[in-house]
């Protein structure tokens, strides 16, 4: 792991009080942040600090701040998951991998891991964004963020009956349909609220209230809770600002923490790496997939070769000279255009400055064209074109699957292939 060195650019203001302030600011701005004592204890690798840091790392690494998931996992499973998540993010310190999973030790290593995550990217900002108090009704994020690794869950145990898989897939589909119905209902109700509260909002560009605002007005208790939530968020944001101002001190301190670690044991061969285990039968499948890939590449080569040769023959005949070079250039341009079109149709066109992230839903009366923000019609258009692209890809893949199945079935003469019911 690289050591993040911060040059002291002449600033000598690193007094004794600056470090506690920095740690306090950090712990206040982290969600589920442990107390500053935990940080101090961790430098000396005290065992009592370990479980708080395991919990914090779990929270910080979970894709969507999965608070619910932590309740269902025991400490061992949590620790295992944290280790695998860190390693798939590229964290390589063997000492972390060696930590026992009962949560009893290793607070210094955990502190190092946390600081590594903090140093890598805008971790604090991401966490703060996740837990924002939302005042408006929001459209769900338009980009589907794929989870880079599976969340904490069940590991597969041996071969599974395909009917069970079909059963589970069917359940997922039914739930999906239920979700779509639920969203439709949600939209209808939101629309009603927006209609009924038109004219009630102080901010005329918004015009109507959101659900949160309506609830806050309806019941003073809700209003009080909303105020408290906002105050808490404010406190965290202020802490984050303070942290940014004095984080230099923290990094200097982390250097000393790293220095306090025992030197690394060079022989890594005796330690098992924490790569995900591939069960035996899966290794066979990987081989199969690799062979299929090779086969596809060969098929592509075989298909491309004669075409290229034929093309060369044709072009070669055209010869040199201005006409030849002109036609070559025209062909090149045409090819460029086609490639660009292909690329466009594959990549999702980001569209006119479409900002990522959630948007507040605002219903406007006809005639008042909103200057800022996205129009619903635009978004619908974009989503529809995305849907069309994805459907095209789906049909193509389905066609490929069908061809492959037909080929496999054709290879066995005694086999009668009955496709499953479905339109």
């Amino acid at each position: 792991m690289g050591r993040r060195r911060r040059r002291l650019a002449g600033a000598a203001g690193v007094g004794a009080g600056a470090l506690p302030e920095a740690i306090a600011a950090l712990s206040q701005s982290l969600p589920a942040g442990p107390s500053p004592e935990v940080f101090r204890r961790a430098k000396f690798d005290r065992p009592e600090a370990a479980s708080a840091l395991w919990r914090l790392l779990f929270h910080v690494l979970s894709p969507l701040g999965a608070v619910g998931a932590s309740a269902s996992l025991g400490p061992e499973a949590r620790a295992r998951w944290v280790k695998s998540a860190l390693s798939s993010q590229g964290y390589q310190r063997p000492a972390l991998a060696r930590l026992p999973e009962d949560g009893s030790q290793g607070s210094r290593e955990l502190l190092l891991a946390l600081s590594w995550l903090l140093a890598r990217g805008p971790l604090l900002e991401r966490l703060l964004a996740q837990t924002r108090v939302r005042l408006g009704d929001e459209v769900p994020a338009l980009e589907c963020e794929s989870l880079a690794w599976p969340g904490p869950g069940v590991e597969a145990e041996g071969p599974v009956d395909v009917r069970r898989v079909q059963w589970l897939l069917g359940k997922l589909r039914l739930r999906w349909r239920g979700l779509a119905s639920g969203q439709r209902e949600h939209s209808a109700l939101l629309s009603k609220i927006h209609r009924y509260t038109y004219g009630c909002h102080g901010n005329h560009s918004l015009g109507h209230l959101s659900v949160t605002e309506t609830e806050a007005l309806r019941d003073p208790e809700n209003g009080r809770q909303l105020l408290q939530a906002l105050e808490r968020e404010n406190a965290r944001l202020e802490a984050a600002v303070r942290w940014r101002a004095c984080e230099l001190v923290y990094w200097q301190w982390m250097d000393t923490v790293l220095g306090a670690c025992p030197p690394e044991v060079p022989a890594a061969a005796s330690q098992p790496t924490s790569l995900p285990r591939i069960p035996e039968h899966r290794a066979g499948e990987l081989e199969l997939v690799a062979r299929e890939l090779q086969g596809l590449q060969e098929a592509l080569r075989e298909a491309a070769e004669p075409r290229r040769a034929a093309w060369e023959a044709r072009v070669g005949g055209q010869g040199q000279g201005p006409r030849g070079s002109f036609s070559r250039r025209a062909v090149q341009e045409a090819v460029q255009q086609q490639l660009a079109a292909l690329q466009r149709s594959w990549e999702q066109d980001p569209g006119p400055a479409r900002p990522l992230g959630p948007h507040r839903l605002v219903r406007s009366r006809d005639g008042t064209a909103a200057g800022q923000g996205l129009q619903a019609a635009e978004v619908i258009g974009m989503l529809r074109s995305q849907e069309a692209c994805l459907e095209a890809v789906l049909h193509q893949l389905q066609g490929q699957c069908r061809q492959e199945l037909a080929r496999l079935a054709g290879a066995l003469p005694a086999l009668v292939w009955i496709p499953p019911p479905g339109r």
Partner: protein, 453 residues
């Protein structure tokens, strides 16, 4: 969340009326054996699901009535309005002047496309009245002409237009010795089309309900009205409100969704059967007392031995010992046959429902090998009694209940098809031999899948 019902044909409309009537009268029943507050919550939940409100306060059933001739629809409308307690919407029906003569192909290829727009408009209007739509009930017969062909067409349309809403078809399985000579053709065409466009097929067997009327209800001259009332009782015992979770006191918002998630997520296994216990004439209710242990013991044996009702159960059938295949598993025709389940849902209503012990339903031996009881078995409860039964239990089961009847129908249809009998009636209106063959293939596959549990 609300459910919109589409009542198709004579069968669908007559049954639909009895269903709404049973739901309404149960929810307004004074003897719920529970507190007033509880009763009001129950009522409100039932109302949101099945009825909408009009200015003068009379609840309107969330239903669209469709038939090719006006007689049955008019009867249904007037019966509902007569009661004064609830009614159908004035403009919720679609009918034509002439019938379709039991011709499936005519219903599917001619009536369907011709009247598609009008019917779907009616359904759309009904959907717009719902604050949130859970899904559709489509009540239809499997073997008749209008109901079955048109029903298959409408279900397909619902799949296209409301793809995220759930579709449950209530199918009436015809008498084994039915009168319509092409009923087996109609049945296989209906089933195969519905399997592709519906999410769940809840099957009501006429033969079984007839026996219930004769043996349990002691009715001498059994009319369709009697049969439909028993059917409505069964459906009501499933879809009336239940608590959303163990220990909760709030009513479940989306029973249709929850039921489907628990019972029919697998695309090959969509056929559901209902059993309920106890079932008796109304005037005997006051003289009967039951324990949950007794009721559930009988219900479990009904499940295992594929009994249709609580009398005449074969107690010899036992779950297989672990590791051994159940008796007579491989062949469809062997008796006695242990009924393997994929998934089961038990619904308990009445006094002390929370204390009833259901361990008997959680044995792994009852279920197929690829689902554990924790995934395969679910239970819904409420303390509020259903239709004055102090304790009652219903079972919705995705199991081998219908393998034998299905196999019988497919076999008979195939025999007719082999000699091309009556095929011209179908090809005349665009249902080709190819379509028949596709249907046979699909249904054979389903029978095989259910047999190989």
């Amino acid at each position: 969340m609300s459910i919109v019902t589409v009542q198709l044909g004579q069968c669908g409309n007559q049954i639909g009326f009895e269903v709404f009537d049973a739901l309404f009268s149960d929810s307004h029943c004074s003897q719920g054996f529970c507190s007033k507050k509880e009763n009001e919550a129950y009522q409100a939940s039932c109302k949101e699901r099945f009825f909408s409100e009009e200015e003068n306060g009379v609840p309107i059933a969330r239903a669209v009535l469709v038939d090719m001739e006006p007689k049955v629809i008019n009867q249904t409308l007037s019966k509902a309005a007569q009661s004064g307690r609830w009614k159908y919407g004035q403009h919720s029906c679609f009918c034509q002047k002439q019938g379709s003569g039991n011709n499936w192909a005519y219903g599917y290829s001619v009536h369907g496309p011709r009247h598609q727009e009008s019917i779907m408009n009616l359904i759309q209007k009904e959907v717009e009245k719902c604050d949130s739509l859970s899904g559709f009930f489509i009540i239809m017969s499997m073997a008749g002409g209008t109901g079955s062909g048109l029903g298959a067409f409408i279900t397909q349309n619902l799949q296209d237009e409301f793809s995220n809403s759930l579709r449950m078809n209530q199918i009436i399985w015809p008498y084994g010795t039915g009168e319509v000579i092409v009923q087996n053709y109609n049945s296989i065409l209906t089933l195969s089309h519905l399997y592709r466009s519906s999410d769940a097929l809840l099957v009501h067997e006429n033969d079984a309900v007839h026996k219930i009327c004769a043996k349990l209800m002691n009715i001498k001259q059994i009319s369709f009205s009697d049969i439909n009332q028993v059917l409505a009782h069964q459906l009501g015992s499933v879809f009336q409100p239940t608590y959303s979770a163990e220990g909760s006191s709030h009513y479940r918002r989306n029973p249709l969704g929850d039921l489907m998630e628990n019972l029919v997520p697998h695309p090959e296994f969509k056929m559901l059967g209902i059993r309920n216990i106890p079932q008796m004439p109304e005037n005997s209710l006051a003289y009967s007392a039951f324990t949950w242990a007794g009721l559930l013991k009988h219900l479990r044996q009904m499940l295992i031995s594929n009994a249709k009702m609580e009398e005449g159960i074969n107690w010899q059938v036992r779950p297989p010992l672990s590791g051994l295949p159940p008796l007579g598993r491989a062949s469809v025709g062997a008796e006695p046959h242990f009924n393997t389940s994929i998934a089961n849902l038990v619904i308990l209503r009445g006094k002390e429902a929370h204390s009833a012990d259901l361990e008997g339903f959680k044995e792994p031996a009852l279920y197929t090998s690829w689902l554990k009881p924790v995934d395969a078995f679910s239970v819904w409860r409420t303390q509020r009694a259903f239709r004055r039964y102090e304790k009652s239990a219903a079972l919705v089961s995705n199991s081998q209940f219908l393998v034998k009847p299905l196999d019988t129908i497919v076999g008979r249809a195939w025999n007719m098809f082999a000699s091309k009998a009556y095929i011209h009636q179908y090809t005349k209106f665009g249902v080709e031999e190819e379509d028949f063959l596709d249907s046979f293939t699909l249904l054979e596959q389903i029978v095989a899948s259910y047999c190989n549990l």
